[in-house]
């Protein structure tokens, strides 16, 4: 539902438009926050369990008498959350207090406001901006400022390393990601998220859904470039050098504890979802059903969208628990020497392809 619809429902909307707008935004914001919180708990549980399964163990399991972590450890993330909330809030004496306090929120805001343009199904989108995908790319990189603030504000050498690495990394990986999105925009001719999804309706080659990833070989490559750049932007393994725990202890987040650390955590998971959702929207048909004409409708739309996005989140977890970490210079060389040329070639390729075939 867009904000406009929500405003129409509000009884005093006509009389107090400003107030109604504020109320509608508040409702949306709270809903999104709730969504992020619940999703993060689920994702933490998923990460714990999936990593355990990959490593031949079972993760948290509540068994036997007493109030353990619930059946199959389902209450474990809740327990983690409670622990993080109750923990002592430590601010180092020599830290730059203002920056130190501000940093988690700046990071979180970047991930949080991206949700405004995510189309969950045909109708559910906070605001269907006409420059939706551009907006998400723009605000998504806000988090880098937060991480630099955290790195600088902590007054810790490890944090500084983490912050600096993160700045270099995220800024670099914005470019291949954006260039891959350009191929999508060239095909669809629109920046609106819903518009991009509408474009991907129907089928191509009889049974294959008309998703952009299947549209032509170049967009197929573009999907992978975008997704891997996205992984790098979320600071996930193999690109987690800003918080590389075996080198930098916890990188930019070394000095954080309790709720402040939880915010970093939350925004990391939120960002993962945003990247996955954008990849879903731009390449995997958004809320479109894989079998065209079947399982359509708002409910199914939500299901498909969430299913595809969560699958991509799972792939990120899968990466994390399989790969070693790259070194900072290798990370850069992959970005500039592999992804960037490929992304540029993709743009030309798509242009020529749509001239000839389309």
């Amino acid at each position: 539902m867009t904000i406009d619809q929500l405003m129409n429902w509000i009884p005093f909307g006509a009389d107090w438009p400003a107030l109604a707008f504020f109320a509608a935004v508040l409702v949306c914001a709270l809903t999104v926050f709730l969504f992020i919180a619940v999703y993060a708990l689920m994702a933490i549980y998923g990460e714990v369990k999936i990593s355990s399964f990959m490593q031949d163990k079972v993760g948290p399991m509540g068994q036997g008498v007493g109030f353990h972590a619930g059946k199959w450890g389902l209450l474990q993330p809740v327990a983690d959350a409670v622990k993080l909330i109750l923990k002592e809030d430590i601010i180092p004496t020599l830290a730059d207090k203002k920056l130190f306090i501000m940093a988690p929120f700046v990071v979180f805001i970047g991930a949080f406001i991206s949700f405004a343009a995510l189309p969950f199904n045909q109708h559910t989108v906070v605001s269907d901006l006409n420059i939706g995908i551009f907006y998400i790319l723009a605000v998504g990189s806000l988090s880098v400022i937060g991480i630099i603030l955290a790195g600088w504000g902590s007054n810790n050498k490890w944090s500084l390393y983490g912050g600096m690495r993160s700045a270099a990394q995220i800024v670099s990986y914005e470019i291949p990601a954006a260039l891959s999105i350009i191929t999508v925009i060239m095909l669809t001719g629109t920046l609106s998220m819903q518009g991009i999804i509408e474009f991907q309706k129907g089928t191509i080659w009889v049974i294959l859904p008309n998703w952009i990833i299947f549209n032509n070989p170049f967009s197929f490559i573009a999907f992978f470039i975008f997704f891997i750049s996205g992984v790098a932007e979320c600071n996930r393994t193999p690109f987690d050098i800003p918080e590389a725990e075996s080198e930098l202890v916890a990188g930019a987040f070394t000095e954080y504890s309790g709720m402040r650390y939880a915010f970093f955590f939350l925004s990391e998971y939120a960002e993962m979802f945003v990247i996955s959702a954008v990849a879903t929207t731009a390449f995997l048909g958004g809320w479109n059903s894989p079998i065209s004409g079947f399982f359509d409708g708002p409910g199914w739309g939500l299901f498909w969208f969430m299913g595809k996005s969560l699958f991509l989140v799972f792939v990120m977890l899968w990466f994390r628990w399989t790969f070693p970490r790259l070194r900072v210079d290798q990370l850069m060389s992959i970005c500039w020497k592999v992804f960037l040329p490929f992304a540029l070639v993709n743009i030309f390729g798509v242009a020529i392809w749509s001239l000839i075939i389309g």
Partner: protein
């Protein structure tokens, strides 16, 4: 240029191999699982009595236990200990091999040896014990042993003897006796000490 593409191809193929392995492990978790849910499931103790011919050897590393009634106070275990975590004090008993019921002293060990010494103190500091088992071998009466294993008839296994206070880990095995009762057995202050 070909190296550039070969690198990319190698990366993709080797990384896919890795992903395949973790995927296989993930879907086979029911078979591969190695976790034990600790308080409910315990690690199976190695089967000792089944396959072992060497029942006289106590091959378990656990808490030390002393059957004080069998102890003759020979101090062999104390001398064998590399970390000096055993402390024994003995007193010469007037009558060799006789029961002294008022201080709970038995005259004969279960092997039938006559005891000449009364053990007044037998402390083991398990917080210092290095579980090397060296004190067990020299004991002539087999009265000091690690719990469990072949000794489980005498004493069940005790791996989890955690305490809140460090001093609670000092186990005192000698029978506590009031000093007045003890006094008459002290033969003119001839204290034997290690």
């Amino acid at each position: 240029m070909s190296r550039y593409f070969r690198n990319i191809f190698e990366s993709i193929s080797t990384l896919m191999t890795g992903l395949g392995i973790t995927w296989r492990h993930m879907i086979r978790i029911r078979k591969d699982n190695v976790t034990l849910q600790y308080p409910e499931e315990r690690w199976p103790r190695p089967e000792r009595n089944i396959g072992f011919d060497f029942s006289e050897y106590n091959i378990i590393r656990s808490r030390l236990q002393v059957d004080i009634d069998d102890c003759i106070g020979c101090l062999k275990c104390e001398r064998a200990c590399p970390v000096q975590c055993i402390k024994i004090v003995t007193v010469k008993s007037g009558a060799k091999g006789e029961d002294l019921m008022d201080i709970g002293h038995t005259g004969l060990t279960s092997n039938g040896t006559k005891k000449a010494l009364i053990v007044t103190r037998f402390d083991i500091d398990m917080s210092e014990c290095c579980y090397c088992n060296l004190c067990v071998y020299p004991c002539p009466e087999d009265c000091i042993y690690m719990t469990g294993g072949p000794n489980s008839k005498k004493h069940p296994i005790d791996y989890e003897f955690s305490q809140y206070d460090r001093n609670d880990l000092i186990f005192k095995f000698a029978k506590e006796v009031e000093e007045e009762k003890m006094a008459k057995y002290l033969p003119q202050k001839e204290k034997v000490e290690a």
